[in-house]
């Protein structure tokens, strides 16, 4: 099962490597990891997606909490949180199919952010399913390159995490 963890950490050098190192030496695989500073410049927020059963999740959470630079770990359950991911997709295109691709982008509320004679770059934001869906639709045109940010997530409503 996949879990999304919100991890608040001290915004210091070496913290990413402490967190990543904990995962690797205990044999846990990270599906995705994003880091950025929060509204408090001394605190960064990591969103980590990890595969594993409840026991793995429990150990990961406890081991993260053991790191001195980790301030708080929250398991973001998907029904209680909003999550987004951003992807940039460079797809083959020329005059013959440009409008078709733009229509697909339109349906997904994606944006064209670069157009060249042989390709376009599309920016799309959404949950994982949406990004996978547009990727599938663009595949027949030939995807030259693609990058995904990994998931970021926040808890809904009042509660903070």
């Amino acid at each position: 099962m996949r879990h999304t963890l919100a991890v608040l950490v001290e915004n210091k050098y070496g913290v990413l490597s402490r967190v990543a190192g904990m995962f690797s030496r205990r044999g846990y695989n990270i599906d995705s990891l994003t880091v950025g500073v929060t509204d408090d410049p001394t605190i960064s927020r990591m969103t980590i997606v990890v595969m594993g059963d409840d026991q793995v999740l429990e150990q990961v959470t406890k081991q993260l909490n053991k790191l001195i630079d980790v301030i708080r770990v929250t398991d973001l359950k998907s029904e209680e949180s909003v999550e987004r991911e951003l992807a940039l997709i460079k797809v083959n295109s020329d005059v013959t199919n440009r409008s078709e691709i733009m229509q697909i982008a339109d349906i997904f509320r994606a944006r064209i952010i670069d157009v060249a004679s042989k390709s376009m770059v599309i920016e799309v934001t959404g949950d994982e399913g949406k990004i996978t869906a547009i990727e599938q639709l663009l595949k027949p045109f030939g995807i030259k390159e693609m990058v995904r940010t990994g998931k970021v997530a926040l808890r809904r409503g009042q509660k903070s995490s």
């Binding site: 070496g14 490597s17 030496r25 429990e58 150990q59 406890k62 909490n65 001195i68 301030i71």
Partner: protein, 565 residues
């Protein structure tokens, strides 16, 4: 202590911080980038113990910490000095021993430059320290040192490393030592949850076959008095792990000895037949549990531990109580009523009678059995501090010494570091000059750090190294005998060194015993000499540690390897 600020260098500030943390002894070895610090140490009011290899500095600091409960401190230079500490840091991390380790580093401007004697020691030690720091501004140094001592000595204790680039040690700062530490990501729990404690108390009252399984946490939280009181009150027998040894008196009726691979049969039987296992400051290590699925399978498990990550890590726990062992045992004492364990204790008494630890004297009359030496040391000096190396002799020491107080058994448990014992014994003796300190050693292990004889002599630290000289790397040989058809691949080290001459070469006292009746006089002579001493005990060479649970077996499938008389 003054709160006013004073101008000084980073190196001077380091010394000031050590004073404020009450550090009286540090173990170390100088080097290029440490020159400013060593210049300050030259007339500082701190004893600096000059070792002959950095590994001995870190083990020495650990021996000091384990003998006293204080935080051990050591220092080594950048690059190879720092990497030579790695084994000792890992050792302290595995056994949760409070240490602050200082390393020199190349100047900040050269960091990452592959400079001379540069090693990324914070990167290297990340997985084996509780926390580590690279100080980049001397103004941060007092705060970092304050935090380091706090982190090392609280919660689940462990080593903290501080890496000091040379320019930081010469930088001028306004010195101010912070009173408090506020780490928002580090708030260890000391007080256990009262509801959980009450639940545990009611399980104890209902239990018919309770067993207390106590580990190193009892020693670190200074809870041996409470452990004993609880055991007596609720009438539960106690088994202590290798690192918990000394936490419960060996001669107590309720004592079961050590559990696990080389534990007593009756400790293992008791765990397997128990209906309630009360784990206190122990972590269900594989050497204790054997086959996990078969471990204490009929028992409810109460687990008292200060580290939440240990709960249900290896064994599923029914009643976890996170917090300090001493605090929780005090509360448990208040709420717990005696278990209905009378029949159980009778059963255990039978197991003890039918399956005692035993060895038989050798056929050739006056040869020396290693177990006999431990018994003799124990009789000659019951309140000695026993430090060990790693291997067969370590197990014999744990099995046969009659420990009566905590902090008298110092051994490398989790990591199993050969070469640990001798430098650790030097640290222990410096910490407790009033105690007789033995390093129970194998001829293999002792050779891993025998150069420290120079330290013991120069610093006048009269430890006694009892070398159990069987001419083999005995524990590995034992496994080769049992599981590899006696193919003694690279384990024979016979006649490779004359330990008496070795001792004498360093200016220490060298003694030898080859017959049984020479054992006790050698021990007495070593104690009386007041000098660093090596006793070469030439022992039976193919003696095995018995009993033994084969790897992967359940702990009640424990075999006698010693012949019956």
């Amino acid at each position: 202590m003054t709160e006013s600020t004073e101008k000084m260098t980073g190196a001077r500030a380091l010394i000031e911080c050590l004073y404020r943390e009450g550090v009286d002894t540090i173990f170390g070895y100088p080097g290029g980038v440490l020159l400013p610090i060593y210049d300050e140490l030259y007339d500082a009011d701190v004893r600096h113990v000059l070792v002959r290899h950095e590994q001995a500095a870190v083990h020495g600091a650990e021996g000091y910490a384990r003998a006293t409960g204080k935080t051990g401190v050591c220092i080594a230079t950048s690059g190879p000095g720092a990497t030579n500490l790695v084994t000792g840091i890992a050792n302290a991390y595995m056994d949760s021993i409070p240490m602050v380790v200082f390393t020199g580093q190349v100047p900040s401007s050269l960091l990452g430059n592959d400079a001379f004697q540069e090693a990324n020691i914070t990167g290297i030690t990340m997985p084996i320290t509780k926390h580590n720091y690279l100080v980049q501004d001397a103004n941060d140094l007092p705060q970092v040192i304050k935090e380091a001592f706090h982190i090392a000595s609280t919660g689940r204790q462990g080593p903290v490393l501080i890496d000091l680039p040379k320019d930081v040690t010469v930088q001028e700062i306004d010195f101010y030592y912070p009173e408090k530490v506020n780490l928002r990501g580090y708030k260890p729990t000391y007080q256990g949850n009262l509801q959980q404690i009450k639940k545990a108390a009611s399980e104890i009252e209902k239990a018919k076959n309770p067993v207390i399984y106590a580990g190193g946490g009892v020693i670190s939280s200074d809870a041996s008095k409470e452990l004993r009181e609880l055991a007596e009150k609720v009438k539960a027998p106690v088994t202590t792990t290798l690192t918990g040894m000394g936490g419960f008196p060996v001669e107590h009726d309720l004592f079961l000895g050590m559990p696990g691979m080389h534990g007593t049969k009756y400790a293992n039987y008791a765990i397997q037949e128990s209906d309630l296992l009360i784990a206190v400051g122990a972590r269900f290590d594989d050497r204790v549990t054997g086959k996990l699925k078969a471990f204490a399978s009929n028992a409810k498990i109460i687990h008292i531990d200060i580290d939440p990550a240990e709960i249900s890590k290896n064994v599923k726990v029914d009643i976890p109580i996170v917090g300090d062992a001493k605090w929780i045992l005090q509360k448990l004492l208040k709420y717990a009523a005696p278990a209905d364990s009378e029949k159980w204790l009778e059963r255990i008494a039978h197991w003890k009678k039918d399956n005692p630890l035993y060895y038989v004297q050798p056929d050739n009359g006056d040869g020396i059995k290693p177990q006999y030496i431990i018994e003799q040391i124990s009789e000659a000096c019951k309140d000695a501090i026993i430090v060990t190396e790693v291997g067969q002799h370590q197990m014999w020491a744990a099995q046969y010494f009659r420990f009566s107080e905590p902090r008298t058994f110092i051994t490398s448990g989790g990591l199993g570091t050969m070469g640990y014992g001798f430098p650790a014994s030097i640290g222990a003796k410096i910490a407790r000059p009033d105690k007789v300190v033995f390093d129970v050693a194998g001829d293999g292990s002792f050779q891993m750090n025998s150069q420290e004889l120079a330290t013991a002599v120069q610093e006048n630290v009269p430890v006694i190294v009892a070398v159990f000289n069987n001419g083999y790397l005995g524990m590995v040989r034992q496994w080769q005998e049992l599981f590899h058809d006696k193919r003694y691949s690279s384990t024979c080290i016979q006649n490779s060194v004359d330990f008496v001459k070795l001792a004498e070469a360093y200016g220490a006292l060298g003694l030898r015993a080859t017959k049984r009746d020479e054992v006790r006089p050698a021990i007495e002579e070593a104690i009386a000499s007041g000098r660093p001493t090596v006793i070469d005990f030439v022992v039976e060479c193919e003696e095995n540690v018995s009993p033994m649970v084969p790897a992967g077996a359940a702990i009640n499938e424990i075999l006698d390897l010693e012949r019956k008389e």
